[in-house]
Point group: C2
């Protein structure tokens, strides 16, 4: 039995039915990508994920990546897996054909990447970070940087990293101290960076570090930070590898989870200075980082959802086979625990929320596809607003929920869940990082309130609410009783969301209130977005059932999930509305002596 098997039917439902493949096919550059091809790509990816990556997940957890001297060794099997991954072309799936990429839209690449996250999150972080480096060089690098680095990063021959954090500069990067001193055509980099994912490893011949640093005369704060390409091995003008650069990994963190993913402390310039090349212009580094960060945040939200999916699959298998206790009302069955109402509740808590998060996540990716590839300027602009609005929601909400669900996954296993051998606990441990890196949930919430809601006077969020109301109108008066239960519950959540947006805009003169409300607002928005997607799924499914689909079981289950979410999850929005409206002042008023 496979440890993990991608939920291909669910993925195709979101891509082909909920988003609608015809909309994906209309994106510029997608002429040759049809639904059959897309389905085939997903199936191929599942083979690698389920047969190669998933079996290495526990090995990676037990062995971890190890540092000896300044050399990092990845776990048994890691290197072969990476080579298979690279050689099958997965690194370049959504990359620009100009640099050897295959030009697939983000939304399909997202479904594919979900499989890497689910099957082996530690492994998946390596290509994820490389994507960030590619984006930085592609969007902001000059022709020389592009020609020397992009093709090899796109093919996966080299990997990339993002070096932001320093001990004193975490959520607040304005205090970055790493120095970059001009020296001819390059700069000399000196300083220490921490939490560098795959900062050192043995998978490829070279590692391309993207490093934030300050030039000597740079202004203080966020406006004096520049971005540099700092390769582990210098690259000659013909693309061959030159000298070892003056940088090294000086330690690896011992972490709660993702043991196989080396989290490095990197030291630059111990022998005088690591050679670095400026990306774009001086002092614009943080701005460049922020454009990359949207993609990374979206990806981490995807991780939150994907690990919960893997955790769900494991818990479901356990519940289907573990015999224990008498099932109420069914004394003659085999009594596997899936018959117990509370176990069904826990499983559906997982399934329904994973489906909600998946749909929101893919939808967000598709907004970025539209923003980049639609032929209408207004559509592009609206899609960018929507993508930017949804990104902190996808990141903050999906990781918080995902993490809670991996804990539910442990719970369904009972005592076995606490024993590491089972694997349920690893999902809980691995997922625990997702609410922290690429900006904590608090940072996402501040972004959602400040930059994404208050700054445009509520424009983007009101557009979203208006779209939700279109769905409500569509559902209005439907004779299907289940759809009405779903509609009514979703309508209340939309009302809660709208109320809170009004409240936030009205409270904008006291920034402490908005800050106090931010996290609850993020959750409210996430839950409601999830409810929207599941309501639309239910409508689509009801239509399929009415039209006599042969896939009744699948669509019935979609409606079950939507109804469960409507009655068990959506009611939380009213509690959050109350907490915001009545409790934000309470939070803002708390002083140091309250603790």
């Amino acid at each position: 039995m496979l440890d993990y098997n991608a939920p291909l039917r669910d993925m195709r439902f979101v891509l082909n039915e909920l988003i609608g493949f015809e909309r994906i096919g209309q994106l510029s550059g997608c002429d040759e990508i049809n639904q059959e091809l897309s389905d085939a790509v997903l199936e191929e990816a599942n083979k690698l994920a389920s047969e190669v990556l998933a079996p290495l997940n526990r090995v990676g957890d037990i062995e971890g990546s190890q540092l000896e001297g300044s050399v990092v060794t990845t776990p048994t099997g890691w290197k072969d897996a990476y080579n298979s991954f690279k050689d099958s072309g997965w690194c370049s799936l959504s990359m620009d054909p100009e640099y050897g990429g295959q030009g697939y839209p983000k939304v399909i690449a997202t479904a594919v990447a979900e499989m890497w996250d689910s099957s082996n999150m530690s492994f998946s972080l390596c290509p994820l970070l490389t994507n960030g480096a590619i984006e930085a060089v592609e969007q902001h690098g000059d022709a020389i940087l592009k020609s020397l680095y992009l093709e090899k990063l796109v093919s996966g021959e080299w990997t990339g990293t993002m070096n932001l954090t320093e001990p004193q500069a975490g959520s607040d990067l304005s205090t970055v101290r790493t120095k970059a001193t001009p020296s001819g055509t390059h700069y000399l980099i000196q300083g220490q960076k921490i939490y560098i994912t795959y900062g050192e490893h043995d998978l490829t011949d070279n590692i391309i570090h993207l490093v934030l640093a300050r030039t000597p005369d740079a202004p203080a704060g966020t406006k004096g930070i520049s971005l540099f390409v700092v390769p582990k091995y210098l690259v000659n003008s013909d693309g061959s590898l030159g000298d070892r650069n003056d940088l090294r990994c000086i330690s690896l963190e011992h972490k709660l989870g993702i043991h196989a993913s080396p989290t490095a402390v990197m030291s630059y310039g111990d022998q005088g200075g690591a050679v670095g090349y400026l990306v774009g212009e001086e002092n614009k580094g943080l701005m460049y980082m922020f454009t990359m960060m949207n993609a990374a945040r979206h990806a981490v939200g995807r991780e939150g959802m994907a690990i919960a999916e893997a955790s769900y699959q494991l818990a479901l298998k356990y519940a289907q086979t573990r015999v224990q206790g008498n099932v109420i009302g069914e004394p003659d069955t085999t009594n596997t625990i899936i018959g117990h109402p509370d176990v069904k509740r826990m499983l559906m808590l997982m399934k329904s929320q994973v489906e909600a998060m998946r749909a929101v996540n893919y939808a967000c990716a598709f907004e970025y596809d539209l923003a980049e590839r639609h032929n209408d300027t207004d559509v592009r602009a609206a899609a960018e607003r929507r993508g930017d609005l949804l990104t902190p929601v996808v990141k903050g909400w999906s990781t918080e929920v995902g993490q809670k669900l991996t804990s539910v996954g442990v719970q369904i296993h009972g005592g076995m869940g606490f024993v590491e051998e089972t694997g349920a606990a690893q999902y809980l441990r691995d997922s625990r990082i997702t609410t922290i890196y690429e900006g904590t949930t608090g940072i996402q919430a501040a972004d959602l309130v400040g930059r994404k809601t208050l700054r445009d006077g509520g424009k983007a969020i009101r557009e979203l609410i208006a779209d939700m109301k279109v769905t409500l109108d569509l559902m209005n008066g439907d004779s299907d009783q289940t759809l009405q239960i779903i509609r009514d519950s979703f309508a209340q959540s939309v009302d809660d969301l709208e109320f809170v947006v009004d409240w936030l805009l009205a409270s904008a003169d006291d920034p402490r209130l908005a800050a106090a409300a931010a996290s609850s607002y993020l959750h409210l928005a996430g839950i409601t977005c999830g409810g929207w997607m599941l309501a639309r799924s239910a409508v689509l499914s009801a239509l399929q059932l009415k039209d006599g689909t042969t896939d009744r079981g699948f669509y019935d289950a979609k409606i079950d999930a939507a109804r469960f979410y409507a009655t068990q999850v959506l009611p939380e929005t009213s509690a959050l509305r109350t907490a915001i409206a009545q409790g934000s002042e309470t939070i803002a008023d708390l002083g140091v002596s309250s603790f």
Copy 2:
């Protein structure tokens, strides 16, 4: 700086003010226990907890207990710590003076034990399980068993275990297979038991196992299980140690947390049969276990709260010292992260809920004291009903919340929280077992609905609601605006609870509905009980402030916590009410094909 320092002032507040020490002092056998003595006991316990046990917590996590052959070695320092613990008399604090105990009431022993749980949960499990064994022998054993075993268990010279679970018999003990064959004055025990906490260790000369097993002609199911004392070393009639008994530890689990607490797989009777002595009568073993289980469940609820307290202390220290970002509205401060509204929110989420859980937990312990030691029969009976009602709430709610709070503790640390060195992650890992052992949350919820609510037609829960309404009446019309905010929010939760109790009683004819609602009902009851305790704390604190207390900071903070809880936590009860009333049928209707 100490890793852990007991919140003595908070503990004294609950004991001396909220419960009221005069009520504790009136218990029979407490003539010599006054408030000064009780306070001094807490201070002494804190010395051991903070100076001896807390410093070993991380050592224990890293080293774990190790099995070689059938010998288990506890981590460095464990044996010395156990000897200090035993020699200072902590094992016998609440035990019967007849067997060398000090006769302290449970409520004081609970405050003391909270310190063991907080400072070193792995360590604390050893005396906790011994307590269970003592209770079993004391309540159900014959004179010989009592005379041979009790004094040495009470003094801590020996430890005890509880052997219930077998691979096929976890939550459902009706399928226990371990055999007990009569052989003269004793029985021969054969079978395998799993998840035996401190089933083997090197702390004491002997280990007394309490083992569930079946005699040859026992009826099937729960009514054919008997309880046996099975010592590691046989005990001669003069109390000296005799032969090694035929039992051994064959493996230790590799667990997510509580690494230092050896979780043993025990094999009985490999060489023909371990000598075991019947406790009480044949076939009544499960009933005996259930009486012990109340105490154990209350204790695990206390663990949930206590680890969250430890996690809070660590997070608070971090938030008070970590400098990062600009605090809104306070640009000139030192900018430690405790100034950020979202960090204050997270810290107060921890503090307020820990205080709520502590108060409910101690109050529940005091009900059992009343049930045992009050001179009025009616009071005793009412207290027993209340204690039995509150036990599954204390266990289920406090462990679920406690576990979530340890995750918040990690979150407050940002990236540092994911690094094991910090210690925040260990609290998360350790606490993860609390919702599982001694009956999962689902089992607690089923107990609360079935045995504690429906069986007596709602009598005990309605008594509780009536007492809550007394507090509401008392608060009614108070001119203090903060008290009114707290009152109104609490009134809504009491209304939600009452509504759901009515709904449960009305739905009793469909047991699937009650089972589907059980977990939400448990949370609703727990949150509301916590709200009750904090509302009463706020009333008491307001009185103290009015009376010109010199301890203003303390009482102000108590009101802050109550107000926060009222606006941020209590609103959840309405969401749970909706989920129960509108969603239980949804859950009950889910079929195997929904997943």
